[in-house]
C-alpha cells in the first residue's frame, strides 16, 4: 500500500525538523502511543494502542530514523506486531519552507510543508478482514499525527532566538 501526502506545520523548517526527531514529541503525537524508549542511535521501541471504532489493536514495535539531512529530509521506518496482525512501513519525509495562511501560525507566516512518500504493509487478521479500510485508516492515523504535531508545535515554547 502506497502512502503519500503533505501537511503544513505552523513553524519554521529548523524547528519542524527538530520536532520530528524528538522521541518525546513523536510519542505524544502518534495516536495511542505514550512512550518511546531508546534502544540504539536513532532507534526506539514503542507500544501503540490503535483504537478504531470497536477494534482495538495493541502493537509493539520499533521506530528508526535514518538518512538524516537536516533540515531537509529524513527517512522514518516503523514496524510493529500484535495479536490482530502486523504492520511495517517506511517513507521519506521532505521538509520545505511554506507560508501559513491560517491563524495557527505563531511567528508571522513562517511554516513548513512536510511531504511524505512511502510504502506500508499490513498483514494478519486485521488485513485479511479489514483490507477495505486499510487505506482510509492509514490516512486517518497520519492526519491525526500531524494535527497533534501542529498543536504541539504551536504550544511548545520557541527556543531562544540566537
Amino acid at each position: 500500500m502506497k502512502i503519500g501526502g503533505s501537511y503544513t506545520l505552523p513553524v519554521a523548517r529548523d524547528r519542524a525538523y527538530q520536532l520530528l526527531q524528538d522521541p518525546e514529541v513523536l510519542a505524544r503525537c502518534m495516536p495511542g502511543t505514550d512512550h518511546l524508549s531508546k534502544v540504539g542511535p536513532d532507534e526506539y521501541e514503542m507500544k501503540m494502542k490503535v483504537v478504531i471504532s470497536a477494534v482495538q489493536g495493541l502493537f509493539a514495535g520499533k521506530v528508526r530514523i535514518t538518512d538524516q539531512k537536516p533540515p531537509e529530509q529524513f527517512r522514518l521506518a516503523v514496524e510493529g506486531s500484535g495479536k490482530v496482525g502486523f504492520m511495517k512501513g517506511g517513507g521519506l519525509l521532505t521538509l520545505a519552507p511554506a507560508t501559513v495562511t491560517t491563524g495557527m501560525s505563531i511567528r508571522g507566516s513562517e511554516g513548513t510543508e512536510v511531504r511524505y512518500e512511502g510504502d506500508a504493509q499490513v498483514g494478519g487478521t486485521i488485513a485479511g478482514v479489514g483490507q477495505r479500510l486499510l487505506d482510509t485508516t492509514a490516512k486517518m492515523i497520519i492526519k491525526k499525527f500531524f494535527e497533534k504535531l501542529a498543536e504541539v508545535a504551536a504550544a511548545a515554547p520557541q527556543p531562544a532566538a540566537t
Binding site: I52, S53, A54, V55, Q56, G57, K83, V84, T125, I126, V129, G130, Q131, R132, L133, L134, D135, T136, T137, K139, M140
Partner: protein, 285 residues
Amino acid sequence: MIPQNFEYSAPNTLSEALALLSSGNAKVLAGGMSLIPLMKLRLAAPEHLVDLGRVPDLKAIREEGGSVRIGATVTHYEIESSPLIRAKCPLLAEAASNIGDVQVRNMGTIGGSIAHADPAADYPASLLALEAQVRIASAKGERTARIEEFLVDALSTALEPGEIVREVIVPIETAGTGVSYQKMVQPASGFAIVGAAVRVRKSGGKVAFVRVGITGLAAKGFRAAAVEKLIEGTAGSAADVQKAANVVADGVDANSDLSASAAYRRQMAKVYTARALTQALARIS
C-alpha cells in the same frame, strides 16, 4: 471463532441503558452486523455489551412536526418496508433496500450503521441529501446534531463516551421531488464501492432544488456541493447531468482498496452520480 468472555446486559428502558453506558467500559450492541463479526475474529473484545434491542422507545417510526423520526434500532428492512417512510421519505427507503443482503437488512439497524460510520455504508449518501439530523442521548441529557456534524471521519462520529444515537430525524419530502440512490455494489460484502443519492425539483422547466450525497468515495460521506451548483438552474439535460457529475470527485481524497483503486473509484463516482441525477430527474412527478 468464539469471542472473548464479556458481560451482557439487555435493559428494557432507555434510562436503564444510558445508566449502564455511563459507567464506563460498556459497548453498545444494536443489530450486531459489524460488532459481532469483529468480536468473533477477536479484533474487538469489549468487556461489557449493552444490547439496545429490548428498548421499545428506540424501535418506533413516527411522524412529528414535518419530519419522520426513526428510532435507532429500527432495522433496514423495517425502513425499506414502512408505508410511512416509503410515502414520506422515499429516498431513505430506497437506500435501505440496497443495504447488504436480506439477512443484514433483517438484523442491522439505522442507529448501528451510522454509529459505526463505515465509509462505504449506504445511509450517509441519503441522509446527507435529506439534510437529516441525529438525536443523541446520554445519561446527562439529549442533543441534536446535523448529519454532517455527526459523521466526523472514517469509523468516527461525534458520539462521546456514554452517548448513543436515539433517533434519526428525516424531513418529509416535498411534493414534486424526484429521488434516486444509485450504488456500485461490492458483490462479496454488499458495501458501496461508491453510492450517490439525489433529490431534485424543477420549477419552470429548470432545476430549482438539488441535493447530492456521496458515499464510499472518501473517508466519510459528503454533500457534493460543486455538482449541485452546476446542475442548478439548468434544464437538466443529459449534457447538463454529465457536466455536473464530472466534478463529483474534484479535490476529493479518494479511498483505495483491492476492489477499486482511487482513480477507478473517482471515475465510478462520476458514472453513478450521473445515473442518480438522471433517474431522479426522470422520477419528478
